[in-house]
Each structure stands twice: as C-alpha cells, then as structure tokens.
Symmetry: C2
Subunit: 224 residues, 2 copies
C-alpha cells in the first residue's frame, strides 16, 4: 500500500485490511507520523505490516509480501497540495508543506513503461508539466468540476482549492493545464460525488471526453 | 450514532460519514476518549458533530439533528467483553473493564415496545439472561460459530473468546444460553466471514434456524 497523502480518503481504507495479512505501507514520514499518533492503526500490527518511509524524488522498489522484489519502480514526487485538514491547527515542525501531497511515477522495470498517479493536486506547476510531458498514461485528480461546486450544491462551505484540489474545468483547471503536453491517455480519478462529470449524460462529461479525458467506470481495467 | 464499544468495526464507519452533516455520537466516556486521542476523527468537527457521553444503566433519549426529542429511549447496559484490542498494552485508568462493551435496550416511548441490540458479548451471564427474558426481539453477537474457527481456517491466531465474542454453538454458546428465555425473535448480527452459518446451505445455518435464530440478509427490514 502506497499512501500519497494523509487525508481520510487516503488512509481510512487501511482499517479495512485483514489484520493478519502481511503487507507493507509505504508513505512519507509525515503520513507515517499521523498513522503512529492514531492508535486505531495499531490494528495493523507491526509484526505483519511493515511501515516504510519514502522520500521525495527517491525511487524505490516495493517488495512482495514474501520479500522478493516486485519489479516495479516507484518515484514519489512533490505536487502542490495541503496537509490533511483534520490536522489543521496542530503544530507543524516547519512552515514547509513538503511531503503532504505526493504524485507517483510507476514504472515496470522490465519493459520500462510507466504511468503517473496523482490523486490530489492543487496546481499544475511548470515542474509538473515537464514531468508529465509525453507520458503514455496519467491518472489525475478529478475531485471537482469547478471550484465552488460543493458550496453551490449546499454540500459544504469549502472550495476545491481550499481542499487542495484543482478543478477539472476553467482556465486554470486540469483539462486546460494538461492539454498540450502530448499525453497519450488521461484518466480522472478521485472524483467527488458533487462533480457533474460523474453523470453519464452531463454536459460536463461530454466536455471532459471531448477534451480527451476518460471518466472511468468501477472495475475498469487498463493495460499499459 | 450510538457506539457500543471502541473496536475498529464499531468506530471506523464514522470516517465515512459526510463531514458537514450534523449528528450526535453517543458513547461511553472510554470510547469518547479513544475518539479524542485519534486525530483522524477530527474530520467530524465539533461544530457539526456533538459527542455525548452515555453511562451504564442510565437511560437517555437521543435528539434528532434539529434538536427535537426522538421519542426513542436507549438504555445502555454492561455486557461481558473486552477493551478494543488495538489499545492493548496501553495504560488503563483502572483494572475494571466497565464500559468497554455495552448492550442496548431500545424502546419506543409511545408504544412501549422495545428490543435489544448486543453486537459483542463474551458470556451470557445470569444478569443478561434476566434482562432478555421474554423480549420481543433480540439482536445478538454472532461473530463465530465455534471458538477456534478462525484458527482452524488459518485466518488468524485468535479464538472468538479472546476477541470478546461468545460462539453461536456449543454448551456455553449463544444458541444454548438464550434457548429457554421465551424470546420471541432472535437475530444474529456481527457475523464474521469465517462463520459457516453465513452460508445458505450449511449445516450450521440449518442448525441455527432450527434453534429459532435468524441469519438476516443485507437489507432486511424488521417491524417490531
């Protein structure tokens, strides 16, 4: 299990893992510190579940439960985001947000093929653009269609941006920002239930698809 | 939301509640302390989600989100159990286990009808028998069929008893213990996926049903 941030939707699934099954949690030390300070995660006993720190721009190769190398190289990198909001107000060790939000480049060491996994991203920076340029496949943060949609729907008082998520639409949105990078296949994930692009017949779905994006169905299998 | 113990399966669902929706968490102060010490539960902000301590043998009437009384009286009572196992090894304030595991008597104040909800129970004591005697409906801990089934299946190294759960079968089991109390309707819940009574065509299912118990299907609706 690789955790790319410490938000509830990234870590709560750990509580549904079978206690006795051996696996490894890979996460930035910030996220590991959150797991350590929350005793509920002790259900994953250290005997069966190892916790391994990963660092920005340091590639690693996860091991299979039996200890053999997986043949998959993971490169975590920093993306613009924010700290888990339930920790807001807690003392942070520094003013830097480094490590709060990671993207992953996931590469098959045999074939050399790779793709990107970016489930949370507040802004597409030039650095991120240069990473993604020409990629065969990118999974990207599709939380909201527009920044204020949760407020407009009366679901919350937060904007997408305040939750660390770029919008799909708009001049600063993901569709525009990733339009001219020559990415072969672009798939949104982490789509909030307030996002109209989730609806099969919505204008927003049509606009996303016309712009070359896929909104995947549950159970979609993808071959790189 | 009424929490009857602090185990993961009792509290993890809180993390799936919509953040902005107002409701109240009712729980023993031990369980509230666990929630407080685990920062992940701060996603349920105190602004929207009140946390209300309940006490053994003190009836209370939950309020609806708008503050009006629900018309339902809840009586929490002590049942034999154990502390949440992920807290094992932590310093406890006393040697008593009181409050670790609660049963509930849930009563409609208008009609006077009531039923019992007991999702975890290590032993059917005489006190518990006298409470349940003649009840119209009892939901009862059906975690395991026999004490060592998880070990026998290679799923875990723990017995049902060591997890605070009585077995369905056997001389000391729930079926035998609740057999002669004149309970009108008995329904097992909290059934582990190792329990063969979950299988529609198993001998164990047949034995439970012949003994007057129901293994409910998902979505079952019950009218008292």
């Amino acid at each position: 299990v690789i955790l790319t941030n410490g938000e509830i939707d990234a870590i709560a699934g750990l509580l549904s893992m079978r206690e006795g099954w051996p696996f490894t949690i890979y996460a930035h030390e910030k996220v590991l510190a959150t797991l350590k300070s929350n005793s509920v995660f002790n259900v994953l006993s250290e005997k069966n579940v190892k916790r391994q720190a990963i660092a920005i721009d340091k590639a690693f190769e996860p091991a299979l439960p039996d200890g053999t190398p997986s043949g998959i190289e993971i490169l975590p990198f920093e993306v613009t985001g924010k700290g888990a909001w339930y920790l807001e107000g807690e003392r942070r060790e520094g003013s830097e947000a480094a490590g709060d939000t990671l993207g992953l480049r996931i590469r098959d060491k045999t074939t050399g093929k790779f793709f990107f996994f970016i489930a949370a991203c507040a802004e597409v920076t030039d650095d991120l653009k240069s990473r993604l340029k020409g990629a065969a496949l990118v999974f990207f943060d599709g939380t909201v269609w527009r920044d204020d949609e949760m407020i407009a729907a009366g679901l919350a008082t937060k904007t997408g941006r305040s939750m660390g998520h770029i919008s799909m639409s708009g001049e600063q949105g993901a569709i525009a920002a990733l339009a001219k990078l020559g990415i072969e296949r672009k798939i949104f994930l982490h789509i909030n239930n307030s996002n109209p692009a989730l609806l099969h017949n919505s204008e927003e779905r049509r606009a996303a698809e016309q712009a070359g994006w896929q909104i995947p169905a549950d159970g979609t299998e993808i071959v790189l």
